[in-house]
Symmetry: C2
Subunit: 335 residues, 2 copies
């Protein structure tokens, strides 16, 4: 009998997560019923949104309950099937959770990828990360050639794709990141025109210098005081695509909002929240376009892979301490 | 020789304006040159934006300089003309300023109205106020039948038109105002479905009760904590049309921004600043539509008229102390 190792939420983290916030167990996998398939987890995607699900904050999905398997997107391979939809050998992404196996049903919200594909890409650049970056930059931001696009968390999974897309669409791409090393990566490897280390003094001056024609689009992953500074540097008709606000997800008390929002009136600007999953219906065409850019070398993909399900909780913290480049994944099984 | 009495900015007000912040003089009116016309001021429109021009805050127009005539929209009658565009007897709106006479040039940014029209309407419901209300509600808000529209400063010039338009477009209209008397006016005379006195305790509960299906559109004239509360009550896909932020125009230090802006991500909402003047090109069709609603009784017009140019400074304060119902005007001359 195959056992399924699972990581459960034991208590809600305060600030950064600790090992004590989680527990583990093993459960026997029940026999498949008609219309079901068994998915063996290969990789778990570690996204900032997981941190919000561990709290009681309002999100687009309810909080994970105490004693429940931690919710995460992930990719696995179908190892057994009584389903017409999922075939043995298929790569499938869905909310696999922090566990070695998950059950698929014919009506699951899941996506089947070709079995030959790089499984990490199904979570990253050719999966939900790519769709989020594309939807935020293209659908919300509506870039026009020659405009200036600023991207925060520019070395991260979504930001790195959004900024490279801005270049591909003919814009000036300016990144914001948390170390000189990341800024070098953003400029040298990802091809941004400039990148600001927000931990340095003089952010306002640096932003002014990097955006001499002001900011037309801001793709925001971090919120907080950086959003406020960018709001103070907008061009007429600017658009802000709100993807997330990682700077506040660990905060127990909500920090003050951006007082410069008033500038939206002065410049007739638009600040709009979005969720990549709302655009999942366009996944095929978006990922086909992104795959072309990868093939012709204009879109580089970077990943940080952590080994082992038991390290998942620690990897969530890496998002907040800034240790990852590109998509952060936990490898659960080789194949 | 006709003399022109003018009110000049003597120093920048701190908080509410005082008489000492202004000075007055009289100037001889120069002889008309070809392409010029002389406009005798009938009414000055008192809008919150004037308060921003008296400060050094960034706005869509530069601050009024010390010693300069205070900038204001207004309407006058052409009393003398060497222009092909402006004829004696025409009603004309432009930035007349706080003075008895102003000069028009063939290339002035000015609008000619039929001489028989009610001059007060050219500044209010059938002028820039109507265009601002229409642009914010219809172009930015994009109302759909059955949606809930919340309007702050609902008894004011722009808010009262925006809320009535929401009703006309088939929405539930909920006002926010600063006294029980105003709330009664908003419901009984303007036909809103509900109105909340924001000075009462329990605003959050009152908003919940007035908006059982949450908020689809917020037409915001005030900013501050009320904007933050409404951000916490948005429906999926909500739109916020930022028209102004009268709650902060008198503030010397910018108050914190709305921490609930994060909710824009959760509900995939849009917050967009606009300026009615950007839509002045559609003035004819917008005012024709609004005039039809006035004729069939669905759009009521209210005004507060203060007598005399020397009272203009005091009337600006009335916007902030909440003493006006509808469009606030200073009458400078009868005809």
């Amino acid at each position: 009998m195959t056992m399924n190792r699972r990581i459960l939420l034991a208590k809600r983290p305060v600030g950064l997560a600790t090992r004590d916030d989680f527990s583990a167990d093993e459960q026997a996998i029940p026999e498949l019923q008609d219309g079901e398939a068994l998915l063996k987890t290969l990789y778990i995607g570690i996204d900032p949104t997981i941190r919000t699900w561990l709290s009681t904050a309002k999100s687009y999905l309810p909080p994970v309950r105490i004693g429940e398997v931690v919710r995460s997107a992930g990719v696995g391979r179908v190892v057994d099937s009584k389903s017409d939809r999922f075939k043995a050998g298929d790569l499938v992404t869905h909310l696999v959770g922090w566990q070695e196996y998950s059950m698929l049903h014919d009506d699951s919200f899941a996506t089947v990828f070709p079995g030959s594909m790089n499984p990490r890409h199904t979570l990253g650049v050719l999966g939900s990360t790519g769709v989020a970056a594309y939807a935020g930059l293209v659908y919300v931001g509506r870039p026009r050639e020659g405009e200036t696009v600023v991207v925060s968390a520019a070395a991260g999974a979504t930001g790195s794709v959004a900024g490279q897309l801005a270049k591909i669409k003919g814009c000036r791409a300016v990144g914001i990141a948390g170390s000189d090393e990341k800024c070098r990566h953003v400029i040298e490897n990802l091809g941004f025109d400039a990148c600001i280390n927000y931990k340095d003094d003089g952010f306002r001056e640096a932003l002014k210098e990097a955006c001499p024609k002001r900011v037309d689009i801001y793709f925001d992953n971090v919120g907080g005081w950086i959003l406020n500074e960018v709001l103070g540097r907008l061009n007429t008709g600017a658009r802000i695509a709100l993807c997330g606000a990682i700077s506040v997800y660990n905060a127990e008390k909500k920090p003050p909002g951006p007082s410069n929002y008033l500038n939206l009136i002065t410049v007739r600007g638009r600040m709009e929240g979005f969720n990549g999953m709302d655009h999942w219906g366009k996944h095929s065409e978006i990922s086909a376009e992104l795959a072309r850019y990868m093939e012709d070398g204009r879109l580089k993909n970077y990943e940080t892979v952590v080994d082992g399900l038991d390290e998942a909780w620690r990897s969530v913290n890496m998002l907040f301490t800034g240790e990852n480049l590109g998509k952060l994944l936990v490898k659960v099984a080789e194949s």
